[in-house]
Symmetry: C2
Subunit: 460 residues, 2 copies
């Protein structure tokens, strides 16, 4: 399972390490010249603070800016720590401004003002605008550098116009037609310009006007889903009044999708500060990682103590029939596994918009049925297991089988409904984690087990 | 949390349902004209088999093809069931061939041959080529319709050439320069063509030649990671000999990323047939969903029975000190939670290529330390809890605290290393699920608990 870029990065790392040991096979500038910024960033992430900075300074300005774009938070901080604001500013001026906003807003917020003061005024102003939008919003991701066409421009004039466009404009694929106030009127693709049969007509005569747009306050995840759904290469961001403020390009959208999926998976595993987990694993200091995890572990620990309370209530039963305790981990474990399966299914269904809020009852009905079917099969296996391995009598085996049936159905319903309730309360359903469902199911599952046992084995 | 397209889809569904009830506010053709294929598909998914087909036939050919492109497996099957091969073929001819290959290969494999026979020969041949590549490979995703330029073409000639290009060519953004044998020599962007200062030079003089390519056999996930990493809009697929076979466009890559993330999350939750889970939730028949889940649940159930064996071995101790059993769910639950956290972290780190195979020992060292820190904190809480709530003596509380410490460290190390071992064995690490780690940790955690208890409480 070694891929093209595993090899790229590994070769590059070996080359760079040989430079650091003063035994270079290839001179450093040549190594850098042949390497992609994303690969260089990957290697830098794996080096010590001092080495990162030393190597970073050897990069030419443009490549340095591109590498900075790719680096994670910790590595960026390490480099910035060694440099003055005036040293850093030229790199920032050369980067896409949405990326600069991300660095100043998230990575080194304490140097935001002094760095902005050191940047070129026009760039600094753009960054200030972007930082003004909420975190994780579409506004934070957009670039102001796109192609604006006046509505009266003739198709034949467009290509000449494009030749003079700023080289920092990220894409020429979609061209935006604005009125004098900057209101977005329509979009025309470069392809339509080239293939238009009549080159004398105005761009407004061939532009598309049924546009899908977002506002700067739109959540970045929703913006990403729009792009994924409608196969856009760029998404326009407009103000309430319809002014085109910027566009979000598809490469940023892919980053958002990756980030959001990481966040969802980490939350699902009950890791706090899940956004941080997007940083490369080895660059996260151990204490920060422990801090991100301990919160949920403590909450879950306290939740789990309920199981102790349930069991103590039934101390007499457990003392009388010690065999009861042998089945405890099996029964609650099976409930937890069933719950883990369904909670991820529902969370994913919500994330992909296959499940809507109004479907709550339909989901519950479906999952009650699923739970009964799964519980029925597992319960039958449970009875056989209790009889054969547990060497218990049939009445006891029935307790085991019935508990599996009820616990599976219960945990399947709970696991399906809790994420939807979370969403109804405007909480991201992904904060409902598998361990959380396990904890809920453990305590309630024990209660179910003990009550069934007490009812059926009461004669003893 | 209602987004643009939640509203779009809901309005569209209401409009379409009013048509189905013969009380349309707006005629159907007008509804369809204003709607995006992805939205129409979403509404169709929610209707009955008969309604889907009836409505589908009302779509114009091109829009029907676009809707078919967006539909999930079940809905596609429902429509096809009602139509002859000859009725379906025109829609297939109008679709991108990678999508047709997907439908014929995955959705209705039993009609593959007859449908191919009904299609136009050129299209059928292309589909046959694509189906020949392994499932989930780059070859399956590519389109043969891209712009080929001869190396000697002058820059000024390119625009005229593009005007004659087949309208089915998906992108004009990247143009591919081939030699007479079809070998890929370089890539030039349309932007470079337009902004080239000298319009008389040959395209081979401005083309980029340090290309990143994949072969048709490359795993689709690796292809997607390349595009995400290097911000491509299209990725060339070449044969071993260097012939350009096709390109993969970024919209297909986004679909792959979404599919792979769904698969990873489902596997992590121990749901089998995880690829199927990409289908819209409500279109998956309940029995199929139960089938996808029962396999792992049974395996885990059998794995869990180990816990019973461990406990039975210590029957005397449990009988003597019934209080021991009160702490069982808490102790193994905490181990399971710790394991769930770390296994997702490592799986995600591997998926994003932040963790390489050669890092196994480094990961283990880090996670032993993390586990000790987490276990230390939780263990201290455990001692207090046992003393205060459990009202046990200090020696017993020490058993609880020590068990938490050891179980956390153990499950953290196990959860970190097992995915890496899986990868070393060329198994996708994502098949290592949280429930699997829980099950491993449950049985071994009980053993740890009982051994510590026996050692420290031996006097009794």
């Amino acid at each position: 399972m070694t891929t093209v870029f595993d090899t790229n990065v590994q070769t590059l790392e070996e080359q760079i390490r040989s430079v650091l040991q003063n035994q270079p096979d290839i001179p450093l500038d040549q190594i850098f010249k042949q390497a992609h910024p994303a690969d260089i960033a990957d290697v830098l992430e794996r080096l010590s603070a001092k080495q990162i900075w030393k190597l970073f300074l050897k990069l030419e300005l443009d490549q340095g800016a591109a590498v900075l774009h790719e680096l994670g938070r910790e590595a960026t901080r390490r480099i910035f720590r060694e440099m003055t604001d005036e040293d850093i500013a030229p790199y920032l001026n050369a980067m896409p401004m949405d990326e600069v906003a991300d660095i100043l807003g998230h990575d080194v917020p304490w140097r935001q003002e002094t760095l902005l003061a050191a940047m070129r005024p026009a760039e600094a102003r753009e960054v200030r605008d972007l930082i003004g939008y909420p975190p994780d919003s579409a506004g934070r991701l957009m670039t102001e550098k796109f192609v604006r066409l006046p509505r009266q421009m003739r198709v034949e004039e467009v290509l000449d116009y494009l030749r003079q466009v700023d080289s920092e404009v990220e894409t020429l694929t979609d061209l935006y037609i604005l009125d004098d106030n900057g209101t977005l009127l329509g979009i025309v693709s470069l392809r339509e310009i080239i293939t238009a049969s009549d080159q004398r007509i105005h761009v407004q005569d061939i532009m598309a006007t049924d546009l899908i747009t977002v506002t700067p306050e739109t959540d970045q995840e929703d913006a990403a889903l729009l792009v994924a759904r409608y196969d856009f290469l760029a998404l326009p961001v407009v103000s309430e009044a319809g002014r085109l403020l910027g566009i979000i390009t598809v490469d940023d959208i892919i980053d958002v999708l990756t980030y959001e999926d990481t966040e969802d998976i980490m939350r699902y595993a009950a890791v706090g500060d899940s956004g941080m987990m997007d940083q490369p694993y080895f660059t996260i200091p151990i204490w920060r990682f422990v801090k991100a995890r301990i919160g949920w572990l403590l909450i879950l620990f306290l939740g789990q103590t309920l199981t102790g309370s349930v069991l103590r209530t039934f101390a007499t039963e457990l003392e009388t029939i010690v065999t009861l305790s042998f089945f405890i981990p099996l029964l609650i474990g099976t409930g937890g596994n069933t719950g883990a399966q369904i909670v991820s299914t529902v969370i994913r269904g919500v994330a992909l918009r296959h499940i809507q809020l109004r479907d709550t009852l339909k989901v519950m009905a479906r999952e009650l049925l699923s739970g009964l079917l799964l519980g029925g099969i597992l319960g039958a296996v449970g009875i056989v297991y209790a009889l054969v391995w547990g060497q218990v009598d049939f009445r006891f085996a029935l307790v085991v089988g019935l508990t599996v049936l009820v616990v599976c159905t219960w945990s399947n319903a709970v696991g399906a409904v809790i994420p939807l309730i979370a969403r109804r309360l405007n909480i991201d359903p992904a904060v409902v984690s598998a361990p959380m469902i396990s904890t809920v199911v453990d305590a309630s599952g024990l209660l179910i087990y003990m009550l069934i046992a007490k009812t059926l084995l009461i004669a003893i």
